[in-house]
């Protein structure tokens, strides 16, 4: 049953299984295990980024397609919800319309880019995605009448998903029974289902053909598979899932702006998460996203504590000054790539 749910793709390492179970339990009970707004923000962000990174890995790791437009698809989904909620008013119908429309637009755009550029060499596809993503980012910031420009859009989501809505009196384990909790579980369940869906896709006959194409596209053609078609479909699925992740992000934040959904920094983050977790494995997305988001959110605090602890020692407190957290984040990435060249998952599987 459980193996079936994972589409037969077992973690194949005891340590990896433990880590994945810990992450799943941590996210499933995050509001109760780690009370507080900040930890809930972090947990929701992890859920969303797991889906975003897994969808990117479908392209990069499983199909060998390098794209720089993944944040664009993410942004399209986010703006879909924002625009629908702004124009249709608050309501679940607006959220659904925005999500579906965002996913369709993203898939359509991926189809157009794919048909134009996937038949040529990989580097051209990468360049074209970079160009289109930059163009869309500029468009979004310029079309301020529609998108709010650099300021972005604030909108209202259904009351049932906001802190103002109380569905039960009092609190359970110190957690208030309000709409924010419902919102979190909406994000968690949607992300979980999307992740299982991606796992099913990569372990299907379709996913197997993608991996064959990644390894040797001429050979896959000689067997009878239309490489461009398969690559294009993979790109469309990946784009649509990234857009849905964007929609979830928009539902959670109740705000979209170019910086939060379209910036190139997010693209770099996604790339790092895929590489740290391990390319070509969906579980890598889980590990990569979790580690990265936690480091992004808590490294500064951790360094603050460390700096205080070593305050008596010369030089060290300066090095561990919380202001230098980005430096240490960089060091951590260099070390992780050095020690886990095939990603954390690759390493755990290799040593199991």
């Amino acid at each position: 049953m459980l193996v079936n749910l994972l589409s037969g793709d077992r973690p194949r390492s005891r340590m990896l299984t433990l880590v994945l179970v810990a992450i799943l339990v941590g996210l499933a009970f995050a509001p109760f295990l780690f009370p507080g707004t900040r930890s809930l923000e972090t947990a929701a962000r992890i859920c969303i980024f797991i889906v975003l990174v897994a969808s990117y890995d479908l392209m990069l790791g499983y199909s060998g397609i390098v794209s720089f437009a993944h944040t664009m698809f993410f942004g399209i989904g986010a703006y879909g919800v924002a625009l629908a909620s702004t124009h249709m008013g608050r309501g679940f119908d607006a959220l659904l319309t925005g999500t579906v429309a965002g996913a369709l637009v993203a898939a359509l755009l991926a189809l157009i880019i794919g048909l134009f550029s996937l038949r040529v060499r990989a580097i051209f596809f990468a360049m074209i995605t970079l160009a289109v993503a930059s163009a869309v980012a500029v468009l979004v910031s310029q079309l301020s009448g529609l998108t709010g420009g650099e300021d972005g859009l604030n909108y209202r989501i259904p009351r049932a998903l906001t802190p103002a809505f109380k569905f039960a009196d009092g609190s359970f384990l110190g957690v208030r029974m309000n709409g924010k909790l419902l919102n979190y579980y909406l994000i968690f369940i949607a992300s979980f289902v999307l992740f299982l869906l991606l796992l099913r896709i990569v372990n299907s006959p379709f996913g197997r053909v993608l991996q064959a194409i990644r390894e040797n596209d001429f050979r896959a053609e000689s067997i009878g598979y239309r490489v461009v078609l398969y690559r294009t479909v993979a790109t469309c699925i990946s784009a649509a899932v990234a857009a849905i992740a964007g929609s979830l992000f928009a539902i959670w934040l109740r705000y979209v702006g170019p910086d939060t959904t379209l910036s190139f920094e997010i693209m770099i983050d996604i790339l790092l998460m895929v590489v740290i977790g391990g390319m070509g494995t969906m579980y890598g997305a889980v590990i990569g996203a979790t580690l990265f988001v936690i480091a992004q959110n808590y490294l500064q605090n951790l360094m603050g504590v460390a700096a205080e602890t070593v305050s008596a020692v010369p030089l060290l407190p300066d090095l561990l000054n919380p202001d230098r957290w980005l430096l240490w984040l960089g060091v951590l990435f260099v070390l992780s790539v050095y020690f886990f060249p095939s990603g954390v998952v690759g390493r755990l599987r290799g040593t199991s």
Binding site: R208, V209, A212, F218, E221, S222, I223, G224, R226, V227
Partner: protein, 240 residues
């Protein structure tokens, strides 16, 4: 001789600035093994890849089973029933032996009887069925590569130097498998440098030189004429 299933007429192929095939005329009769022989670099592999559509003929025509496939996309050629075993084997290393075989049977699941036959002629495939194909030895990879082409019944098999660089025992296994395939009435166009294998398997033969077919005839005719071999391919009978 039966009707040709494959017919190349005046095929020219360029790779970058190099004019490799310079007017290849070749007929492959239906049923039996046609050998494509010649020295290194005369265009044998290019001929197979051009038939498969992996490199395009810029002049001439290729007819397969009565249809012009000169401009047909490679996947469509494969689905017409052409099985191709490339020189570099082209197995999918990250996938298991089983997954490689499932992928090769693009038209549907592999027939149970056929799989049993493949396991009989290539026993290592059964042993390593669930293992990554990348972990196989060179000979086993070649077995997998040929077994992939055989995963479904094809109307034509294009096989490029299957015995290259392999140990004699493995060459024996591969030759046995090809003999089995031939006995089932398959049509095979085989590029082979090992003259002993060519002699044992071939029915008809075409010899290439400088991007053209310079001699065609029965394999037995070439096998028995040392002077002809020497002239066509620089081969000495002692080596064979």
């Amino acid at each position: 001789m039966s009707e040709p299933i494959l017919k190349l007429s005046g095929v020219h192929t360029n790779i970058a600035q190099y004019h490799i095939l310079q007017g290849v005329d070749l007929e492959v009769p239906s049923g039996g093994v046609t050998m494509l022989l010649g020295r290194n670099g005369v265009g044998k592999t290019t001929t197979l890849r051009t038939i498969m559509g992996l490199w395009r003929a810029h002049q001439g025509t290729i007819d397969f089973d009565g249809a012009d496939i000169t401009a047909t996309p490679t996947p469509a050629i494969a689905r017409r029933g052409v099985g191709f075993v490339p020189e570099d084997m082209g197995i999918f290393s990250d996938l298991s032996v089983e997954e490689n075989m499932i992928l090769a049977a693009a038209d549907g699941p592999i027939d149970k009887q056929r799989l049993d036959w493949l396991f009989t002629v290539f026993p290592p495939l059964r042993t390593f069925w669930k293992n990554p194909a990348g972990n196989l030895s060179g000979g086993q990879k070649q077995m997998l590569s040929i077994a992939r082409a055989m995963a479904q019944e094809r109307r034509l098999y294009l096989i490029d130097e299957p015995t290259k660089g392999l140990a004699p025992a493995i060459i024996g296994t591969l030759a046995g498998a090809l003999r089995d395939l031939k006995a089932q009435g398959a049509t095979i166009l085989l590029v082979e440098q090992n003259f002993a294998v060519a002699k044992a398997l071939g029915d008809s033969c075409a010899v290439m030189d400088d991007g053209r077919i310079v001699w065609t005839g029965a394999m037995v005719e070439l096998a028995e004429d040392a002077a002809l071999q020497e002239r066509l391919m620089g081969l000495s009978m002692e080596a064979a």
